[in-house]
């Protein structure tokens, strides 16, 4: 009797532990996670430790290279401190990616769940709309939406998030479709559970793994896309310290002060690389097929 009780618990603990252990074995993913942890600290304390006001201009100190006394990473075309602007710019530049993924999930997950679970006409209509949205290249759709909403960081975040909705609908719909006829769902239905309970207590938790992986990888893409919109003049607007805006401003001076374009670009690249490494690590750790193999061992 004791063995029967202990078995599922031990198995599930083993499965969850082994997922975490598998993640820890990926050195690159762990290093990237540590980098992101440090970055989280920068996001919190960055503005407090910034040596200068990011908006304060000093025309006497224009286009100074990195290493100039008092200006570790140099100054921009208006004499503003690049390090301070990077530190202040981290919050909007990175936050926009997380917020956009939040928007995409908030809209995409419920629609995908309902379409996959109920099927029928609802699923047909949702799938056709998704087909139409996927007929646009991602960046183009974001540009088209921002064209309608008007330029600005908030609108860029919305545009990038909305452009991501069809991908989340597809992921969750596929999971819901695969799960809805499984025995544990039927058992739950037979016990009298309502659709809401089945969807949110049974279907959604079982569809989480691919969602978590997609979201981790998408934060990076959405940070890049939002920075791209700012670079085009359609996202954050000058003089706001945002990495895409800084890159766009620095573009005019690449011949004389390349650090203005290189540094914010490197900041975006590092964050995206770290998020990708963590996403890859998570995917390998959470892969249900791999987990199945471990559980059987």
């Amino acid at each position: 009797m004791e063995t029967v009780k202990a078995l599922p618990l031990t198995k599930s603990r083993r499965a969850s532990l082994s997922a975490w252990q598998r993640f820890l074995k990926d050195r690159w993913a762990v290093a990237a996670l540590l980098f992101l942890a440090v970055l989280a600290v920068v996001l919190v304390v960055g503005p407090a430790v910034a040596p200068h006001d990011p908006l304060k201009t000093n025309l006497g100190m224009r286009l100074k290279p990195p290493g100039t006394p008092g200006y570790l990473l140099g100054t921009d075309e208006l004499g503003r401190d690049v390090l301070s602007r990077l530190l202040y710019g981290a919050r909007p530049s990175i936050g926009v990616g997380f917020a956009a993924v939040g928007v995409a999930m908030l809209v995409g997950v419920p629609i995908g769940l309902l379409a996959g679970y109920f099927g029928g006409l609802l699923d047909t209509v949702v799938s056709r709309i998704v087909d139409v949205l996927l007929a646009f290249p991602y960046v183009l759709l974001a540009i088209a939406i921002v064209a309608a909403l008007g330029p600005g960081l908030f609108n860029a975040m919305l545009a990038v998030g909305i452009a991501g909705v069809p991908y989340y609908v597809r992921i969750v719909r596929a999971s819901a479709l695969a799960l809805r006829d499984q025995e544990f769902i039927q058992a739950s239905r037979a016990l009298g559970a309502g659709h809401g309970r089945i969807l949110f207590r049974h279907v959604l938790p079982n569809a989480l793994s691919p969602l978590i992986v997609a979201a981790t990888l998408d934060v990076g893409w959405m940070i890049t896309a939002a920075a791209g919109l700012s670079f085009l003049g359609l996202g954050a607007q000058p003089p706001q310290p945002e990495w895409g805006v800084m890159l766009s401003d620095g573009r005019q001076y690449v011949g004389v002060a390349p650090h203005l374009a290189l540094l914010p670009g490197f900041a975006i690249f590092s964050v995206v690389l770290a998020l990708n490494l963590v996403g890859d690590g998570l995917r390998d750790a959470l892969d249900p097929r791999l987990r199945g193999v471990t559980a059987q061992e």
Partner: protein
């Protein structure tokens, strides 16, 4: 095969109609009155009303949509509010520039991606494999606009091997001059897709290389080069083809950013300037052309896919 094609084309027409509805709706949701943009802020209410009537803007939206769609189907995209020229004429010139850039980038992406992927897979866990996959990861994560600026700084400003920007030097229009201008934008745009193709090719080749028919080919005494080229690659390329098709979407999206960096006179640059100037007919036309191209390329990939792999037809 014919039935498959007809089914696919019918599906495509429906999707395309959906695309036109979306493009039309998005532009009509946009703030700003086209009549006001044309006449300027000093226009009287009377002249605004007259122009709105002339442009058909006072009609119900479905009527406006059908009229617009009818015109689009005849190749008439309206008139640019800012440039005062036929949009279709502008689109055609700009489309050629973007298509040239995207095609060159595709060639670069496929050449680098396939080579790196095959080398990686055939020398699994070697230094080559690790180096190629590390580069693929970096290429995958590089923001395209930043990569463009790095190449511009390195190979146009510091080492003036290539021109900084534009499609032609002033007063020149020869093919070689265009080619010279094309190198940096095309490499910039091609690196991201090359990384994706390299990763896909590697995993696809690794999957095929372990199959029995490859062992048989080797057992027959075929040279390794023949085994890889004739047996492995032919089968491994099928999933790679899909990825190449999907990357075309990325190429057209990324082209907007690359065109901005290199002032390449393509559709993307036209579109962004159109958005900033609230030139809706131009934006509408450019978005529709890019989306249509993407849909058509994906159809082409589907057709190629069925030619290469007959199992898909059923």
């Amino acid at each position: 095969m014919v039935a498959f094609l007809i089914r696919r084309i019918l599906g495509l027409v429906l999707v395309w109609l959906g695309v036109t509805i979306l493009v039309f709706s998005i532009m009509h949701l946009a703030p700003g009155d086209p009549a006001m943009i044309i006449l300027g802020p000093k226009a009287t209410a009377e002249s605004l009303a007259r122009l709105r009537h002339e442009l058909g803007l006072d009609r119900p939206l479905p009527v406006q949509y059908l009229r617009w769609l009818g015109n689009v189907l005849q190749g008439d995209f309206g008139r640019s509010l800012q440039l005062k020229r036929d949009v279709s004429e502008l689109l055609w010139t700009r489309f050629r520039a973007t298509a040239l850039l995207a095609t060159a980038a595709t060639v670069i992406a496929v050449a680098i991606g396939l080579t790196a992927g095959v080398v990686s897979a055939t020398r699994q866990y070697s230094v080559w494999d690790r180096a190629a996959m590390l580069l693929a990861l970096l290429g995958f994560c590089l923001p395209v606009f930043w990569l463009g600026l790095i190449l511009q700084i390195g190979l146009a400003y510091r080492l003036p091997v290539f021109p900084v920007s534009g499609m032609n030097a002033p007063g020149q229009s020869g093919f070689l001059d265009t080619l010279h201008h094309l190198v940096l934008p095309a490499v910039t745009l091609g690196i991201g897709p090359a990384a994706v193709i390299a990763r896909m090719t590697r995993s696809s080749v690794l999957e095929v290389i372990r199959q029995d028919f490859v062992r048989t080919a080797r057992a027959k005494g075929l040279a390794e080069r023949v085994v890889i080229l004739r047996h492995v690659l032919r089968n491994a390329l099928i999933p790679v083809l899909t990825i190449v098709g999907l990357q075309v979407g990325y190429l057209f999206g990324g082209a907007v950013l690359v065109e901005m960096v290199f002032s390449w006179p393509g559709l993307g640059l036209l579109m962004v300037n159109g958005i900033l100037a609230r030139d809706f007919p131009v934006v509408q036309g450019a978005v529709l052309i890019v989306a249509t191209t993407y849909v058509l390329v994906n159809l082409l990939v589907d057709v190629l896919y069925t030619l290469v792999d007959p199992r898909v037809r059923t």
